[in-house]
């Protein structure tokens, strides 16, 4: 098996959204970075399935950190499609990933998160599948690799829909697919010397062109402080839930 996992560097946002002065991005001076939660599960699943696992991202030079994190949990090598740090829309992201895959083929499985934590376009994996002429199944919480095909499941509220696809295939997954491991210290050491290919790209014209970001008006709530259990139960009764 050769498996490609596509991931995205995103800030760990904490409790409050603060924008840069030009409103083009979150102010990340005081934030750490990670990858989208769904993608953590994609990489974990790939490592469990086994074979060669390649992790790819499109992002700034600093996204090497996220690729090394994923190599620390077991990915074998990384591909960084290096941008100038500006955001790319879903179409141009998908096109760049397709070019990279064509240089690296064949992969048996190409895994994505169902949507990124930040932009949440719900589409890069599907666009990549169309461009490569591969079957695609999305929103998965269970993947079973069988002989030359994959059987997978999506939660649909009280039931699970089962899909089958021939390999090679593109799959997009959801958090809950598995419980991703934490990187070990030896894993982190090994990750430092794993191969990383860097491809420099310049951003094409954007067809979904970001104008600015806006922090929605907060509920601005001033919580009413309750002093004891008696007051809490009075509130529960007033809300009709006690």
């Amino acid at each position: 098996m050769r498996i490609l996992c596509c991931v995205k560097r995103v800030p760990i946002t904490g409790g409050k959204m603060v924008l840069t002065d030009d409103a083009q991005a979150l102010e990340t001076k005081h934030l750490g970075f990670t990858i989208s939660p769904h993608e953590e599960c994609a990489v974990e699943e790939a490592v469990r399935i086994g074979g060669e696992v390649v992790v790819l991202t499109l992002g700034p030079a600093e996204a090497e950190e996220q690729l090394r994190d994923q190599m620390a949990i077991g990915a074998d090598r990384g591909i960084l499609l290096k941008t100038g740090g500006e955001e790319w829309d879903a179409q141009s992201t998908a096109a760049a990933i397709v070019d990279a895959i064509r240089n690296e083929e064949p992969f048996d499985l190409i895994l994505f998160g169902n949507e990124s934590a930040d932009a949440a376009g719900f589409q890069v994996g599907i666009r990549v599948a169309h461009a490569l002429g591969l079957p695609v199944v999305t929103g998965l919480k269970k993947i079973e690799v069988l002989d030359g095909r994959v059987r997978c499941e999506r939660d649909v509220g009280g039931a699970r829909d089962v899909y089958e696809a021939q390999l090679p295939a593109v799959l997009t997954v959801l958090e809950g697919l598995n419980l991703p491991r934490y990187p070990s210290v030896p894993g982190r050491l090994r990750a430092k010397s794993k191969p990383l290919a860097v491809v420099e790209l310049s951003r094409p014209e954007q067809k979904l062109e970001k104008v600015r970001l806006v922090v929605p008006e907060g509920q601005g709530k001033q919580a009413e402080v309750l002093e004891d259990a008696r007051q809490v139960v009075a509130v529960l009764q007033s809300l009709g839930v006690a």
């Binding site: 946002t13 409790g15 409050k16 959204m17 769904h38 879903a90 179409q91 949507e115 934590a117 930040d118 932009a119 949440a120 376009g121 719900f122 589409q123 599907i126 666009r127 599948a129 169309h130 079957p135 695609v136 199944v137 999305t138 929103g139 999506r154 649909v156 009280g158 039931a159 699970r160 829909d161 089962v162 899909y163 696809a165 958090e175 809950g176 419980l179 067809k207 062109e209 970001k210 104008v211 600015r212 970001l213 806006v214 509920q219 709530k221 919580a223 009413e224 402080v225 309750l226 004891d228 259990a229 008696r230 809490v232 139960v233 509130v235 529960l236 809300l239 009709g240 839930v241 006690a242």
Partner: protein, 272 residues
């Protein structure tokens, strides 16, 4: 003409309401085993001014396929449109983006619970041949175990402050007394204290409870994205400056290990 894909649900009725603000709507549906690749071919009408669906799992998926088929941009989870500029939801609703959509037809999914639902009226059923792309081959019904997190009237949720898997006993007790469901934050599932099915948040379940009780949850945006659908939020936290308080209607400043059992005891007392 605005082509709008609908299913028999509330979100579709909201999407049609939104689509009517853009122009004359042709509402269409598709029946039979779900086959997103094939269904999208039937929806990819280049002559439409816009193609619209609900910002549901299926709506977002189908329009992404349409976007790939027509090589056009898709704006997912839109809350408003002004000329060629859309405003859409990011970060599970914690942030909005204004963007220009260059191309046509405009491909839009409609953010849930922003626009009122309308009577859909006439719905045309499209005939879609099987094109061999992946489709649903089987549906496995889950055995229902208790109250579902999504639909529970009360959710009692625990976070890092609960401290351990065993610590959830007092959360379960209160949820049981209120006929509600137990939820948790992402920290808790990552630690393996609770299954992912209990997780409330951007990458977990989005609740619609009358009351959400957040115990020992600091209130990261990831969590609020799943909790804010509740009509009222009660936060129990030792930290009076925890971010959760900015989203809460009621707060108890104190240790959940004392406060939660006290609430359960008081409930039992008043019920006699």
């Amino acid at each position: 003409m605005i082509l709008c894909f609908v299913e028999g649900d509330e979100l579709s009725a909201q999407a049609v309401g939104f689509a009517r603000t853009l122009g004359e709507v042709r509402a269409v549906t598709i029946e039979g085993a779900y086959q997103p690749g094939a269904w999208a071919k039937a929806l990819a009408a280049p002559e439409a001014d816009a193609i619209v669906a609900a910002g549901s799992d299926r709506g977002n998926e189908l329009l992404a396929h349409v976007g790939a088929l027509l090589d056009q941009p898709l704006a997912a989870n839109v809350i408003s449109v002004d000329g060629d500029t859309v405003t859409r939801v990011r970060w599970g609703g914690s942030l909005l983006e204004e963007a220009r959509l260059h191309g046509g037809p405009s491909l839009l999914t409609v953010a849930p619970h922003v626009h009122p639902a309308v009577e859909i009226g006439d719905i045309e059923t499209l005939d879609v041949p099987d094109d061999g792309s992946p489709k649903v081959v089987e549906r496995v019904e889950e055995s229902s175990g208790g109250v579902s997190l999504r639909d529970a009237k009360v959710v009692v949720s625990g976070g890092r402050g609960v401290g351990s898997a065993e610590g959830f006993a007092i959360i379960e007790e209160l949820a049981g007394l209120l006929g509600g469901a137990v939820g948790c934050s992402r920290v808790v599932t990552s630690a393996g204290w609770r299954p992912h099915a209990d997780q409330v948040g951007q990458t977990g379940t989005k609740v619609s409870a009358d009351l959400y009780i957040a115990c020992g949850i600091s209130g990261a945006t990831q969590h609020i994205a799943g909790a804010k659908g509740a009509k009222k939020i009660l936060a129990i936290n030792t930290d009076p400056e925890a971010p959760i308080l900015a989203s809460a209607d009621y707060a108890v400043i104190g240790d959940l290990h004392e406060v939660v059992p006290a609430i359960s005891a008081e409930l039992r007392r008043v019920r006699g």
